[in-house]
């Protein structure tokens, strides 16, 4: 049976349908989850899609993390369900404490919307299990607050535990350690700033995002 991927929609989310489309194109079943519900319905995995949840007021993700759906996401994440946050979804996961660190404004002080080469650093995560270490992927970025930051102690832990999932080839935004994506210690929760769903068809300019979307599908049912 095709795995069901719940895609969370907050007020202000704007990448949920692209994400559902990318999931469906790979044979999965994308289903929109409303932020006001406190259940993940029949989801086998969850993607928190990009956008500007709650207008990014206060800080990106700061309000969204208190939505009823986030209680269900947190409980499922703690039970080992694959949970992936893309862009604004990554910011939500750091604010919710499901991932370490925070996203600050880009070092160049500008919003960046461009294609970006990424490098796969580990295949031991729910976002990269179908990829290869060292594989380079051409996937767009589209953010202002994408500059990953954390304490030196946290960075050392991320390195020691192999939690840095993706890095930028040529750092576009000042992220510490060129970090584009990280996972939690259990490796089932992953956040990344780039948009794999926007690199899911040749007509979009790249299909490199599919290996990441496929990894989410493949990680369903695998105990983290």
């Amino acid at each position: 049976m095709a795995p069901t991927i719940g895609v969370v929609r907050f007020p202000g989310t704007n990448c949920e349908f692209d994400t559902v489309e990318a999931v469906n194109a790979l044979g999965g079943q994308g289903e929109i989850l409303w932020h006001g519900d406190n259940s993940l319905a029949n989801s086998d995995a969850v993607v928190i899609a990009g956008g500007f949840a709650h207008g990014d007021y206060l800080r990106p993700g700061a309000i969204a993390r208190f939505s009823p759906i986030m209680q269900a996401v947190t409980a499922a994440a703690n039970d080992g369900m694959p949970v992936v946050g893309i862009c604004n979804g990554f910011q939500v996961l750091t604010e919710a404490g499901l991932l370490p660190g925070a996203l600050q404004k880009n070092a160049g002080l500008k919003f960046i919307n461009d294609w970006q080469m990424l490098r796969v650093e580990t295949t031991n995560s729910s976002l990269t299990n179908a990829a290869e270490v060292g594989q380079e992927l051409n996937i767009p970025i589209n953010h202002f607050e994408g500059n990953y930051t954390c304490s030196p102690e946290t960075l050392a832990e991320l390195k020691a535990n192999d939690q840095i999932v993706l890095t930028y080839v040529g750092n576009p935004n000042g992220s510490v350690g060129d970090i584009a994506g990280v996972c939690n210690e259990q490796r089932n929760v992953v956040g990344l700033m780039p948009h794999p769903e926007r690199a899911s068809h040749a007509l979009l300019g790249s299909t490199d995002g599919n290996v990441l979307m496929q990894s989410i599908l493949d990680s369903v049912g695998v105990t983290a």
Binding site: L58, E95, A102, Q104, T149
Partner: protein
């Protein structure tokens, strides 16, 4: 008792502050020289029910910790005054 509080949220030193940098860069072009280290934060004003000022401060410290600030990138300074002019901010 109702207290009025002002919470000053500032990014930690070393965290990028585009607004502050942009203001700083604009100053010389307007003829204002000798101004440096410009940081633009947030100021949150509110009224809160509490038994005394210390209680108000303790409650707000928790609010800051859980919601109003992200301790990875920001810190807050809380100033509490008795709200003689509640609602007048």
């Amino acid at each position: 008792m109702k207290f009025h509080a002002v919470i000053d949220v500032q990014l930690h030193a070393g965290i990028a502050d585009p607004q502050g940098s942009t203001i700083e860069k604009a100053l010389p072009t307007l003829g204002f020289d000798g101004i440096s280290n410009v940081r633009a934060g947030k100021s949150i004003h509110l009224d809160i029910d509490a038994t005394d000022a210390a209680d108000a401060e303790a409650q707000l410290a928790e609010v800051c910790d859980k919601f109003l600030t992200n301790s990875v990138i920001e810190g807050a300074e809380i100033s509490v005054v008795e709200a003689a002019t509640a609602g007048a901010n």
